[in-house]
Symmetry: C2
Subunit: 489 residues, 2 copies
């Protein structure tokens, strides 16, 4: 297996290419761009609630959609008006490619094989996009016809309350059929069960019992993988995406560590959900929990960066991505796993192609990443099991505030800076220590302060940043970052 | 090894017995009371900063103390006046016993052997009681003469800032000599390094480097244990008390999981520090991290119970102790470890002797505990590494609030209640669900509400309690408990 691992969602190619652009060569060209970026393994996602290819066992994305029909046809009429053109483009393109007799995944995998890129499918196990709508091309008939299968029937606080309840056999069977089709249809190196879309699969307080059901069910999937391996003459591995923290994963019934130890899965990918990349994932804990198993470990990077819920969010920059990738590799992950890192869509216009190719290529190793500038940020973990306490670090208020960041190998011999955004441009400048060492006076730009970090403060793996109020008044901190310059050649 | 494991601190016996009561029989009688309570292994603590026995390598507790001198003699004059009589009693008693030629630990261990109780010493690795005072019988000359060895020289926020910095060889050597004396002096089944007095041993941000130093140092201690084992003709095991959460332990340089995996220690005791017993310790995570090692695992119970920092604290009741013990055993701990569970001192007057003996005896097994009434509470973890975010669950405010409790085996066929204290007696009564199941109307007593939990809500290991405001206004919750009645005989 080769990194970085790259998840391609079921819609992006069809959003960013028109029906007129559909061709086998367009698929090849897209795979070629991944190869240029050094992607080691493609995780090609096939579904939200429907299949993005001409499945024989599930509805397709374009099921019930009339390309020549009006914007108020049943599957479109509940969408926000501004979403309709993009949705139509996506459906038109997917339908067109299928009608041309081209299976997106089959074609992509063939190209991957040629280029030495690993071929996995990734199945979203409970996607909920648009589930608050009465209808949408994202909603399956199965979902619409079975409101009684929802995990939290007595309230509505957001999409996850309407997730399908996996303790119901009907739900498991529905997905099982879909997965079996995958294993019989393509030449795969692996199959990923993406439990992180959307992370919640059981009634509140029913997750541990649910986990036991999933463990057994995954055993059945593993048997299907073995059958496929026999057919293909090479291994077909099984992977899972799970919540970033081992305890939370278990408390949600997604006990990746137990599955690895039981020999049920070959790859575990701890990851945040979506709100922000999580720079301080406990990857070291995962690495230790997986010891003694044959399971590989990848750290999942998301595409948004947000210091706290409700704060302004930005897209990950090349420096942030290098930082987050470095942190997971240094903490013992075998691979970096990228989710929503689409050159065209999310990153379009913000990263140059050179940045994209450089940073993704570097994610293959600590050594390569260490040559690049990187940036680490205090963010938060955006997935907790019901009843787990909140543990976000920001915003923080007090006279002494400390933050811990996972920062990769000791960044000796280069420029290192600590950045803090305080509550207001008028606040007194705090004193800053990094690993107990006092930093010289900062550069101040409004509410943003940047300190140069003395060489004697630098350490391997982690840095603790301590801000102390100098006027005795409680200080508010909104953002904390740690920036490491490029290594001198 | 047999549970429960019982830590006897270096002062309690001498506080609760006068000099006149000092005798070999008094020590025997005290051990007999442990035997009646079913204590499986005694962890006899020998020190704070000084030895409580006639050590040849460390100062004794009564060093510099004149029993016939006034209350303003140097070692007493900085103490609060109200503490002086108790301190004098303690010093008088310890001195007297030593002068009678009786070694407290030697005598206690001999009695333990006769009664089948295991014999360990427990050494506090950085005790800091009274370290804010200019002098006290609790402060060693070594400590007073080496202010330059303190871990946080640039501030004072509390005792731990003045802890000795274990990255200093002088500190390690000071403790090593003391430990070697233990191993040469007594017939021990084991030696415990109590890193949880007071949990902080390195400069801020220097803990990972410090952890590597400790790992090497513990290897040296292990060699001394092997030497002692050869002398004694039986194994002398090595144990550690460490912070309750594996990641925090590692972030403080107290990497119990790594020490276990490296074969350096035979017992790991995750534990809170002191503020409150922690009912939701991640013992399952520890159990998994220790898998494949030969290391035993014990869950540490403290004696206070406090829902959040600053809230009223009570002493643990028999029901709370049974609940906390059950949670650690059910989560995979081999043993329950009791700290500050002194029948005379802390619990005196609050537990009857029958309660004490019944509950401690029951801590030997899940089956015995399951017969007793037990109570589980939402509290908080009182030890974090510098820069780790706060993660207390209470107090909580919102329109839907959820709490997760580790509750032991499914409590079928008995009375089960959920209790919540809301912010004010005037607040509207919330709706309560346990594991998604709506509970019938509560009994209300001012701000405290008690719901009967329906049988269909009950689950193994954990319960999630969800409180929902019924008037649309944010609800404040100050306390959450889960009470399980005794098993019908």
């Amino acid at each position: 297996m080769k990194g970085p691992l790259f998840n391609q969602d079921s819609t992006e190619f069809f959003y960013t290419h028109s029906a007129d652009q559909m061709s086998a060569e367009a698929v090849d060209g897209w795979v070629d761009s991944l190869a240029e970026a050094g992607v080691g393994t493609l995780f090609s996602n096939t579904n939200a609630m429907r299949a993005n290819y001409a499945s024989k066992v599930w509805e397709t994305d374009w099921h019930g959609y009339d390309p020549n029909g009006p914007d108020d046809q049943p599957v479109l009429k509940y969408l926000p008006r501004e979403d309709i053109p993009g949705t139509r483009r996506r459906l038109d393109s997917a339908k067109k490619l299928a009608e041309m007799g081209i299976d997106f995944h089959e074609r992509a995998f063939a190209r991957c094989r040629k280029l030495g890129i690993g071929c996995w499918v990734s199945v979203r196990m409970n996607d909920l996009h648009d589930c608050h709508l009465q209808d949408s091309p994202l909603l399956s008939t199965f979902y619409k016809e079975h409101p009684e299968l929802r995990r939290v029937p007595y309230r509505y606080t957001g999409w996850p309350d309407r997730a399908l309840d996996w303790s119901q056999k009907l739900v498991r069977d529905h997905y099982f059929a879909f997965i079996v089709e995958h294993l019989e249809r393509w030449d795969l190196d692996g199959l990923e069960l993406d439990w992180m879309r959307f992370g919640f699969h059981f009634g509140i307080g029913r997750e541990l019992d649910g986990g036991e059901i999933l463990t057994e069910w995954i055993g059945e999937v593993q048997k299907e993988c073995s059958r496929a391996a026999k057919r293909l003459g090479h291994p077909v591995r099984l992977g899972v995406r799970v919540p970033s923290t081992p305890e939370t994963a278990r408390n949600l019934g997604l006990d990746g560590a137990a599955w690895a130890k039981a020999g049920l899965v070959d790859l575990v990918v701890p990851t945040p959900f979506w709100e922000t990349c999580e720079f301080n994932m406990p990857i070291r804990a995962w690495q230790r929990l997986l010891q003694g198993s044959r399971c590989a470990l990848a750290g999942g990077l998301e595409i948004r960066c947000q210091p706290y819920r409700g704060a302004p969010a930005i897209m990950m920059t090349p420096e942030f991505a290098a930082g987050a990738a470095m942190a997971v590799l240094r903490a013992g992950a075998d691979f970096v796993y990228l989710f929503n890192y689409f050159a065209d869509m999310h990153l379009g216009g913000q990263w140059t192609k050179e940045q994209y190719d450089t940073v993704l290529n570097a994610m293959q190793s600590i050594e390569a990443l260490d040559r690049l500038p990187r940036r680490h940020a205090v963010t938060f973990r955006d997935i907790h099991a019901p009843g787990e306490p909140w543990d976000g670090a920001l915003p923080a208020t007090g006279t002494i505030l400390a933050f811990r960041l996972q920062t990769g190998p000791r960044p000796t011999g280069r420029k290192v800076e600590a950045l803090i955004e305080v509550g207001s441009a008028e606040a007194a400048t705090p004193e800053l220590r990094v690993n107990s060492v006092l930093c010289p006076e900062p550069h101040r730009n409004g509410a943003t302060l940047t300190w140069s970090v003395p060489a004697e403060a630098l350490a391997d793996e982690m840095h603790v940043v301590e801000a102390t109020a100098t006027d005795g008044k409680p200080l508010t901190v909104l953002r904390v970052e740690f920036a490491i310059g490029p290594k001198a050649p």
